[in-house]
Symmetry: C2
Subunit: 138 residues, 2 copies
């Protein structure tokens, strides 16, 4: 069991709903042991520690977490950045539900959710930046 899954696949693996909750803890805390994750999850989920362990193990198998021995426990570390996985999910979501198109997605959101004013402004700033980056002042 020395250095079992250490090579990094090129793409983030499919991460399920429950697994996302676990990965989010790792991305928040960085490398962590099972116990640390269980504690972090105590507020916000009613999973038994065994359940968390199962999810972690599956994430290791999938190549989403790497393992390193740390005394008698293991310490797990995310293999992919949160941003990479988020992007991956975003693409797959948009593809599945909105035929890959961003505009209808945002249209639905602003139409049905109340977006607070500051958020609207933040979104606008994002668009400004994107525009600048893409047409570099010419």
């Amino acid at each position: 069991m020395r250095g079992r899954n250490q090579r990094k696949p090129v793409a983030p693996p499919g991460i399920s709903d429950a697994e996302w909750k676990v990965m989010n803890v790792f991305w928040d805390r960085g490398p962590s042991t099972l116990r640390e994750v269980v504690e972090s999850l105590e507020s916000g989920s009613d999973w038994k520690p065994r359940t968390v362990q199962t999810l972690i193990r599956r994430l290791v198998t999938k190549g989403a977490l790497s393992v390193e021995e740390l005394g008698r426990e293991f310490r797990y570390t995310p293999v992919f950045s949160q941003a990479d996985c988020q992007l991956d999910e975003s693409r797959s979501f948009l593809g599945r539900v909105f035929d890959g198109r961003l505009v209808p997605f945002l249209a639905g959101m602003v139409e049905s959710e109340k977006i607070p004013q500051e958020e609207i402004e933040a979104l606008r700033r994002l668009l400004d930046e994107a525009e600048k980056r893409q047409s570099p002042s010419e």
Copy 2:
């Protein structure tokens, strides 16, 4: 707290990946028979007709499609609007992946995808509208 809530049977049921492809056909075409759906899917999937039939049946069981007899075939009709289901999925996606926050989602998108200029403008217009709708006249 009014708003126009429609009394559909319930809320849109969970629709799986494969099922979305089928539902999208119904939303495009309106009420359709199995054969029509199979034909519509011919380009863009390599599913056997049986597979499509299974997916349709599951969607009926889930309450996402209603059935009506039409000669010796059945005609299936979406029970929920595409917009309702899209909204449902959007919320669940944002919750799972972005802690429910829209801004980081869009940040990731504009940072990693090249959004065409017209889309940026369309998105901006959406924000303008949202703003107007939410502060009718301050």
